[in-house]
Structure formats: C-alpha cells, structure tokens
C-alpha cells in the first residue's frame, strides 16, 4: 500500500518531466516551466513521504528495514532517510528540482530566454536521475512479508553532525547542476558575458558556500567521532568532496574576470562543466562501493556502471554543446602579465594543479584494482607534493588582489611587498626559535601564511577599505584561507600523540603530562550499553577530567568509541579508549595533544562567511 502510493508520486514526477520537454520543443515555454515545477513538487512530496516512513518505522519499505530500527532516537530515524543509497539519491534529485524551481521564480524578470533554456537542462538532469532512481535504486521497494524490526543504522553515523552534513554537501554538489544548466543555456543563446556572470554569481556562490560548509562539517565529525585524532585523512571519500570544491573555486575566480572585463568565456564554460562532472564523479566514487568507507552504501556493480554512464552522458553532451557554440574570446596573449586578470589565471593554474594531484592520488588505486593489484596512496603523497606549491600560491594570493585590471603596476607596489615580506620573515623566525622547532617546511608554511595575513591587513589599512562591503568577502575568505593553512602547519608540527595501556588507579607520565585512570562506570541507554572511563589529566599546573567511553550497540551489534576532548586556549587534549582485549581489565588508550585546532575551524568559518557576504551583497 504505502509503497504503491509513493511509487505513484514518483511516476507522476517522471511524466511531468517528460511533459515539460514536450512543451519545450513545441515552444510552449510557460507550460514547460510549469510542468517542471509540478515534477519538482512531486519529487519533494515523495521525499517527505520517505521521511515519514522512516519516522513511523514502516518496515514494509526495504530502505527503512535495512537502515532503521524502532529503538533508534527520532532524530536518527529521520536522518536515516538520507543515510542510505536510495534515500540519498532521492535527496539528490529533490535538490536539483529545488534549485531549478527557485531559479525559475527568482529570475522571472530578466532574460526570459536564458531562464527557459536553463530550466530545460535542469529538467533533463532531473529526468535522468529519476529514471536511474526508479530502475536501479527505488527507495520505496517493498518487502513481503513485512519484517517486525529493522536492521539499524551504523552507529558511527548516529551523530548530530551527520544529520546535517549530507544535506549541506548535497546542496553544494547538486547546486552545481544549476551552474552547468546556466552555462549550457548561455552558450546556446550566445549570452555568456559579464551580464550573465552578474546574474549567475549568487547561484554559483551559494552552492560553493554549501559545499564548503558540508566539507567543514564532515571534517569536524571525523575529528570528534572517528577518534583518530585528526581532521583530514586524505581518504578517497574526503578527496572526492575536495575535487568539485577546487574546480568551483577556480570557476568563481574566473567568473570575476568575466564579470568585470568580459574575458575568459571558454574557460568559464569549461570549469562549470568540470565542476559538475567532478560533483558526479564524487557521488559515483562515494556511493558505488569502489571505495571502502562508511559512506559506501551501494555494493551493487550495476548501479556503479549506471552512474558512470550518466556521468559520461552529461559530460559528453556538455562538451558537444561547448564545441558547437564556442564563445568568442579575446586571446590570452593580450593580457598584461602583471595585471589582475593574469593573476586570476595563475590562481586557476594552481587550483587545477591541486585538483590534478588529488584526482591522480584518488583514481590511480582504483584503476590498478581493475588489474587485481591492491594499493593505497598514503597522506605523505599529498603533503609532499602540495606543500611547496601552497607556499607559492599563498604569496601570489597576497600580490594578486593588489594588481589593477589590465595594467602593469608592479613597480609602485614594490615597497609594500618588501615590508610585508620582512615583517613575516621576522614573525615566523620568532615562532620557529621560541618553539625551538627548526624545520624548513614549517618555516616556509608559517612564512607564506603570515605573509598573506599581513598583506591583507596592510593593504586594507592603507586604503581604509577592510569593512567596505565591496572588499569584505574577498578579505574574509583570503584571510580565512591564510589562517587555515597557518593552523594546519602549526597543528601538524606541534601536536603529540601517545598510545598506551592502563589499569584502574594507574598513572602514566610522559613529557610534562600525567594521565590517571580514576574509575569506570557502566550505563544503559535506549539503544546501547556504555562504559565511561574517568581520567584525570595533569599538564604543568593545569588539572582536568576527561570522560571517553565505549558503546556497545544492540542493533546492529557493534562497538564504537566516543572521544572526550578538553580545549584550552591553543590546544585540545583528546582521549579515546578501547577494550584492549576482552579477557583482561586493561584499557587501551590513545591520547592526542592537538595544537591549534580552533584556528582550522575559525579559518573555515571565515572562508564561509566571506562566501556568504559575497552571495548576499547588493550587486554593483
């Protein structure tokens, strides 16, 4: 019953989508847009119906049975709706529709021709994914006879951050579908120009902000929940969210040139295609089961091949449209070398280089696995390759924004650059000597990030423009990025970790830290038993308690460790415990002293704020 009703909703959505295409080809534009909205409405309805099924634990639906349990807290029942392959795909389609609908309402007045074509492309993306949904991964498949109880959701995923992490990530990934549609539409009606860039800016930027938030939330979750003491592991799943982020960051900077100088049209179009292709590739890598991770839901090769086909079709069609309707560009040879345009181009080269490195590191093991060779690429691959280029990138980020459009003006800025370099040399050398860490990589990392921070401050104090709305987004985002890199270098060179075993009342000492296990308590919650350990940690004169725990879930039967973290001004004390071996009373302890983690979160926050301000500020 429930399943049939939901399937009818999906069916109406598909039909409306077809009807929208039909009207479009018969030049009935208004009707075509209206059908698109109707299709979207039914997708939204079916998504809320799925949430309702999860909320009421309707185990006659296969997706609910496989991913939920009646004892689970309500919040996680609801989140279970997108915590599985089928549901997350429905969320995906719904967001494509939502972006299209929002655009069709908000962009009524200007450029109707553009709206018409944009909605046409958006509609076909919806259609492709709806067909994929109902043929290979229908979230409303039935189970007969009805099971009485569900299998439960992986406890690692039962975390408040993970309730909101996937929707944000998807709002980002999927938002780039609208960017692609807008680019394809403007190619066809030959309106890829600065006016288009003005109009598109808030849409591209809002997707970018959502994606940044999504990546940030995932990183925070990994830090608190996974219990490995870190915030980024160069895991293929993390990398696949970074790929569209890098491509879209390049796109945003190119769009600046398009917006102001009507330059780099082809480049903008290519980056938009690239961005959405990488969003899809990310979805494929994460969902198809080619990677081994908590995100991999579908282990069905048929689905993987289907997604690959979709990626191929969308990318191929986009390229064909690009080749046939190639915009006319002014040749790059005419751009002055020390002008703003050319620095934006350098920015693109660097971002695309970072992207290439990450793509190679992520894809190479997958390609080898086809030939039955299993390898993995360690974090040092990324760290060693990216670090030297990050240094140069940061320095250029300090210089680029000082440049003027279309003019060589390096000479007049020489003095400021010299003072900034001198200032940052002194500061970073001071940090190196005070901390007694003579490490070249650390020095260069600090030097380049401090350089960028100082140069943003000096530049703005000199021109009294830091809080002028026009410069605020760039200042916030660039300063945030510098702070992020600064904190990452401090964190990786000043953090400590120690693994040891401990018994009740025992004390472990190392460096200036001593850790004592006071006692352990047992507790029962609605869906797990919990053993909470009480540690007393002493560092210099500072004493505090940490209470990490081990949880044993009933359904699914699984053990997880909960971290306990105490933050001081510049550092975190972080403890995770394990049942060392089940025969003895020894606890296994991993202790991390994490330096400057807050700088990383603050840097991310500034980047996000910068994006937000730019998306909402009144366009000049």
């Amino acid at each position: 019953m429930a399943s049939n009703f939901a399937n009818i909703l999906l069916f109406i959505a598909i039909i409306s989508s077809f009807v929208s295409n039909f009207f479009f080809f018969n030049k009935k534009t208004e009707a075509s847009i209206r059908s698109f909205r109707i299709s979207g409405l039914f997708v939204i309805l079916s998504f809320f119906l799925l949430i309702y099924f999860f909320y009421t634990s309707n185990f006659s639906i296969a997706a609910v049975y496989e991913n939920s349990h009646s004892l689970k807290p309500t919040m996680y029942k609801v989140a279970g709706a997108w915590g599985n392959h089928e549901g997350s795909l429905l969320l995906f389609v719904m967001i494509v529709s939502l972006y299209g609908i929002a655009f069709s309402f908000l962009n009524k007045k200007n450029n109707f021709n553009l709206t018409k074509w944009t909605i046409f492309f958006q509609n076909n993306i919806v259609l492709i994914f709806l067909i994929y949904l109902v043929t290979t991964s229908n979230p409303f498949d039935m189970i007969v006879p009805h099971p009485r109880e569900g299998l439960g959701l992986n406890p690692i995923l039962q975390d408040p951050l993970l309730v909101i992490h996937p929707p944000f990530l998807y709002l980002g990934y999927v938002g780039f579908s609208l960017t692609l549609s807008l680019v394809l539409a403007s190619l066809i009606i030959k309106s890829l120009n600065s006016e288009w860039a003005q109009l598109t800016w808030p849409w591209v930027l809002s997707s970018w902000v959502f994606l940044t938030i999504g990546i940030g939330l995932g990183s925070i979750w990994a830090y608190y929940e996974l219990g490995w003491g870190g915030y980024w592991f160069w895991d293929p799943v993390e990398n696949s969210s970074l790929m569209p982020w890098l491509a879209s960051t390049a796109l945003l900077h190119t769009m600046l040139s398009l917006k102001v100088k009507n330059l780099m049209k082809s480049w903008t179009a290519l980056l938009a295609i690239l961005t959405f292709s990488f969003s899809l590739l990310g979805t494929f890598l994460v969902r198809s089961g080619v990677l081994n991770s908590v995100h991999a839901f579908a282990n069905d090769p048929e689905r993987g091949i289907f997604i690959l086909t979709i990626i191929f079709i969308i990318t191929f069609v986009s390229f064909v449209i690009f080749v046939f309707y190639k915009p006319n560009d002014i040749s790059n040879n005419q751009i002055a070398l020390f002008s703003k345009e050319s620095f934006l181009l350098f920015n693109n080269y660097f971002l695309l280089f970072f992207l290439t490195v990450i793509v190679i590191g992520t894809i190479y093991p997958i390609i080898l696995s086809i030939f039955n060779e299993t390898i993995s690429v360690g974090p040092s691959f990324y760290n060693t390759i990216l670090a030297p280029f990050i240094f140069i990138f940061l320095i250029l980020m300090g210089i680029g924004p000082m440049m003027k459009w279309s003019k060589n003006i390096l000479l007049s800025q020489k003095k400021i650059i010299f003072y900034t370099i001198a200032g940052s040399l002194i500061l970073s050398a001071a940090i190196i000597f005070l901390a007694n860490k003579k490490n070249l990589i650390l020095f260069l990392g600090l030097l380049s990030s401090i350089y960028l921070m100082i140069s943003i401050l000096i530049e703005n104090i000199k021109n009294r423009e830091f809080f002028k709305l026009y410069y605020l987004p760039k200042n916030l985002a660039h300063f945030g990025f510098a702070l992020l890199i600064f904190s990452i270098f401090l964190n990786s060179h000043f953090s400590l970790s120690k693994n040891f075993e401990i018994k009740d009342k025992e004390t472990i000492k190392f460096n200036d830290i001593s850790i004592k296990l006071n006692n352990r308590q047992l507790k029962q919650e609605s869906n797990f038993y919990e053993m909470i350990a009480n540690f007393e940690v002493k560092k210099s004169n500072f004493i505090f308690n940490l209470n990490p725990s081990v949880r044993k879930f009933f359904q699914p039967n699984q053990i997880t460790s909960e971290t306990s973290i105490v933050s001081r001004m510049f550092s975190d004390h972080y403890i995770v415990v394990n049942f060392q071996d089940r025969k003895s009373d020894v606890l296994g302890v991993r202790y991390y002293f994490n330096y400057f983690i807050y700088g990383i979160w603050l840097g991310l926050l500034l980047i996000i704020l910068g994006g937000l301000f730019s998306a909402i500020k009144k366009r000049a």
Partner: protein, 147 residues
C-alpha cells in the same frame, strides 16, 4: 604576425616542459608513497621480499592472540598460508579473533611482520574489501562472511 607566432611557440614549449617536469614529480612521489597489499599466500610466492611498508590482510586466526610484555602477537591467515604479526600499541575495537583485519607494517622475514598500524575502519557487517576480494580470489570465501 611573425612575432605572434614566435610568442606562441615559446609559450607552447614552456607549457610542455612545465607539464613534463610536474608530471615526473607527481609520479615519482606517487611511486614512493604507494603501499602495496598482499595476502599471506601472495607473500609466500613473491620472488623478492618487499622492504618498505606494506599491508597484509586476512582473517585473525582463532586463539592465536597472545601478549608478551608489551607486544601483541597473532596470526593472519588466508587459510592457505599464515603470517605472524607483532604489534606494540592499542588494538582497535573491531579487532577480534576469527574476523578480518588489514595490518600495515614492515616485514621481518618472509612470513612475519612488525605491525605499525592496524586498520579497522569497517563495521561488523562486512570485512575489509581488500580481504573479501582476496579470499574470493583464493576460493577460501565462505557464505557466513557475508555477501
């Protein structure tokens, strides 16, 4: 015209050289940072023992886990060959005798490994993908391990 062509050729040459240098750089460090995965049987038939860090995977043999001083010792098996593992550190929650595990470390000799890291990112429903694939290839797969 002539000047423009010249400019283009120079630009093209510079791009090609940059690409080659950067490509070389990427693949060199890719090769340096690649960690290979072996099953015990594969280790047994290798002509040369790998020196660097490797990963091995298989099942933790039942009743093989014991502790001497601070060192854990256990056996990883693919039901054809066995590798002895030594490990100093904290065993993860999901490390259980009779279940799958992936161990990262350096070989002491052909069939014994000094572990640096035990990877247990998987849940109890399934075993590490590398292990499952390897067991399937070796024909040691049993229904009870899952799909």
């Amino acid at each position: 015209m002539n000047k423009n062509v010249k400019k283009r050729i120079i630009f093209f040459l510079i791009s090609v050289i940059t690409f080659l240098i950067i490509g070389q750089y990427i693949f060199k460090s890719l090769r340096k940072n690649t960690v290979y995965f072996f099953t015990p049987s594969e280790l047994f038939i290798l002509s040369e023992i790998p020196r660097g860090t490797i990963r091995i995977g298989g099942m933790v043999k039942k009743n093989s886990l014991n502790k001497k001083n601070n060192t854990y010792q256990f056996i990883i098996t693919d039901f054809k060959q066995e590798v002895k593992v030594e490990y100093v550190g904290v065993l993860p929650n999901l490390f259980v005798e009779g279940q799958g595990a992936v161990i990262e470390g350096k070989l002491i000799d052909r069939l014994s490994l000094k572990a640096e890291n035990i990877l247990a990112k998987h849940d109890e429903k399934y075993m590490p993908k590398e292990v499952a694939d390897a067991l399937k290839n070796k024909g040691s797969w049993q229904k009870k391990y899952g799909k």
